[in-house]
């Protein structure tokens, strides 16, 4: 009896929170017909938004994979002054509101500041342009790759890398042939989370982008703008597309989890067990 009640509660919870809103969004997006949906998602503003979001996501993904992996390797494998301090900072982006992140960047690169003046003199636009939007998105997604990799690196230890060294491999060969294959699924997992978050980022990007039409308007900003302008179908249609992308990412995550736990490699689930 209680068991059934609990199952019922879980179903209601999921329906109210997830299934209902998503279904309603899809109904609304296609509510005025497929042609209207198509018109809305192929508008120049919408297409530009998708393109800009993709651009930012790809750059952020690259930066996070490279620097996230380096950060995780250094924090786990090296001993240096200030290490504990830096390790403690990794999760900071999760606890800082994205809006605050955006404001920090404005304070740093604003017209009156040293950096702002310098970049201004060099004629490089940071604020209200792609660089600032990439910077804030890197900031909010920074922990994903690092957090995935640190437990894996701790679990695999250094013995197999030492073994490779005794077999004659140099540091680069060791990284490519021993370390990288051992952490690759963690990297994929961290990358997927980074992509999902980068596509969905709104607050921080809104603050630093200026939301300039067809210039600094990402897909999420476009949804917001359409909604404010009473173009509800436009907002729902673009939102439905982003929702579909998130769904695909979720599928990929599940595949990665299944893969990493069946191959017998040290990653994700094995780290927890």
């Amino acid at each position: 009896m209680i068991r059934r009640l609990l199952i019922f509660i879980v179903w209601i919870y999921f329906s109210v929170l997830l299934i209902g809103p998503m279904a309603y969004l899809c109904v609304q997006a296609f509510g005025e017909g497929l042609s209207v949906f198509w018109r809305e998602v192929t508008r120049p503003e919408a297409l530009h938004g998708f393109w800009l979001t993709a651009e930012i996501t790809l750059i952020v993904l690259f930066v996070n994979l490279v620097f996230g992996t380096i950060t995780a390797l250094v924090l786990i494998r090296q001993r240096f002054w200030g290490q504990t301090f830096l390790s403690g900072l990794i999760d900071l982006p999760f606890s800082v509101s994205p809006v605050i992140t955006g404001f920090m960047l404005i304070l740093l690169f604003g017209p009156g500041t040293i950096l702002g003046t310098w970049f201004g003199a060099m004629d490089i636009k940071i604020l209200y342009a792609l660089p600032a939007m990439v910077l804030v998105t890197v900031f909010v997604t920074f922990p994903f790759v690092v957090r995935e990799l640190t437990p894996i690196l701790m679990a695999i230890g250094t013995e197999s890398e030492e073994a490779a060294r005794t077999l004659g491999a140099n540091e680069w060969q060791i990284f490519l042939r021993v370390t990288l294959p051992a952490i690759r699924w963690g990297m994929v997992y961290g990358a997927t989370l980074t992509i999902a978050r980068a596509i969905g980022e709104f607050g921080a990007v809104l603050v630093v982008s200026g939301n300039i039409l067809q210039l600094t308007q990402t897909a999420t900003l476009h949804i917001y703008q359409s909604y404010v302008d009473f173009n509800y179908v436009g907002a729902y249609a673009v939102a439905a597309i982003l929702l579909a992308v998130s769904f695909v990412i979720l599928m990929i995550l599940e595949l990665v989890k299944a893969r990493s736990s069946t191959v017998g490699e040290t990653s994700l689930r094995m780290v927890n067990s």
Partner: protein, 362 residues
């Protein structure tokens, strides 16, 4: 190839892990480094490999000083305690790793790996992944991987530490045969004295970063150079006695100690099988009570409490024990047939002294 270590020391911060160790491993020898955990033996092995750099001292492999050579340049084979196999590679790829790093031709790699898998008793397992193998098989893959690039020396860190007791025995015998066949100079670390005795040609006993003794297993067992070795290798009764008039006294026991001045405290050691026991309380001169009997499989250990309250361990083989009638709690008589005055810290070993074995009657 010969390995020579001279005055090797290693500090980790303010802790000295290895202090002033010197020894030579002869070409083709299988030498065991034995000591309790934390005695610095693994650090010595890692310094020879180049995985740690010594704080002072020199390492020579084949007459060449290798201190300034990187791990990669030393051409050693290293076998790790927990195998350290590459999990994402097949057995074949694992064994081939060192050869493919050296840009060996594909056909040569294939021939060498096949030969090694055959030699290791792992034919046909080349396509398996490490997680599909048993512990003993993994360790043999690790050894094959280390041997593949034909290293000048083979270093093994607790090679059988991570496998079951049953498999360990098998692997030991297998390693001895393998070494006979390949004759590659090998140095292995273990904390298991039985394993060290069985596998090594010669062995080195370590304690607290110091070399306590180096010698043949029988020498180390029969002639322990220090009290630590006496305690660590095999079982030994050890009592402290005071010298008076050339005789060391403890309770009612007396041991001739002519070379020591009056008032000197010496430690006397005797192996359990050097205590003869009789169920007849008048057969030997010393009296005791039988406290416990422990069955050891091939022998019995008998624990006695002497009239003056000393607790000593004796050992008797199974056949003898079964012919006699010992009951726990009964009075017995005993005699110590051999003893040794244990050397003070790092003084030269003193020869064992044999006490006349004939029953002494009062």
């Amino acid at each position: 190839m010969k390995i020579e270590v001279r005055g090797l020391s290693k500090w980790f911060g303010s802790v000295q892990a290895v202090s002033d160790v010197s020894f030579t491993v002869q070409a083709g020898e299988l030498l065991g480094l034995l000591g309790p955990s934390g005695s610095g033996k693994t650090t010595v092995l890692r310094m020879i490999a180049g995985l740690e750099s010594p704080s002072s001292g020199d390492i020579f492999i084949d007459q060449v000083r290798v201190n300034d050579l990187s791990v990669q340049q030393r051409n050693i084979g290293f076998v790790f305690q927990h195998y350290a196999l590459f999990k994402h590679m097949t057995v074949f790829e694992n064994v081939a790793f060192g050869l493919s790093i050296r840009k060996t031709a594909k056909s040569d790699i294939s021939a060498r790996v096949t030969e090694l898998l055959q030699l290791m008793g792992l034919p046909g397992l080349g396509d398996r992944y490490p997680h599909q193998l048993s512990g003993g098989q993994r360790q043999r893959v690790a050894i094959a991987r280390a041997l593949a690039p034909r290293p000048t020396v083979l270093l093994l860190d607790e090679p059988f530490g991570a496998v079951d007791a049953q498999v360990r025995q098998e692997l030991r015998e297998w390693l001895i045969r393998l070494h006979d066949e390949l004759a590659v100079t090998s140095l292995f670390v273990t904390h298991d004295q039985e394993e060290a005795m069985e596998v090594s040609n010669r062995l080195i006993v370590f304690s607290k970063g110091r070399l306590e003794q180096i010698g043949l297993p029988a020498e180390v067992y029969e002639d322990p150079a220090t009290e630590f070795v006496a305690r660590f290798i095999g079982s030994m009764n050890i009592v402290e006695a005071e010298v008076k008039g050339g005789v060391a006294h403890v309770r009612d026991l007396e041991f001739p100690a002519p070379d020591f001045p009056d008032g000197h405290l010496v430690r006397i050691g005797f192996r359990p099988y050097y205590i003869k026991l009789s169920e007849d309380p008048r057969h030997f001169r010393q009296r005791a009570r039988l406290r416990h009997v422990y069955f050891l499989g091939i022998a019995y250990r008998l624990e006695i409490e002497t009239e003056t309250g000393l607790i000593l361990r004796s050992r008797m083989n199974k056949e003898e024990f079964r012919q006699r009638r010992f009951e726990v709690g009964q009075p017995v008589s005993y005699a110590i047939t051999h003893f040794r005055i244990l050397p003070q810290q790092h003084s030269p070993a003193l020869p064992a002294v044999r006490v006349p074995e004939s029953p002494l009657t009062p």
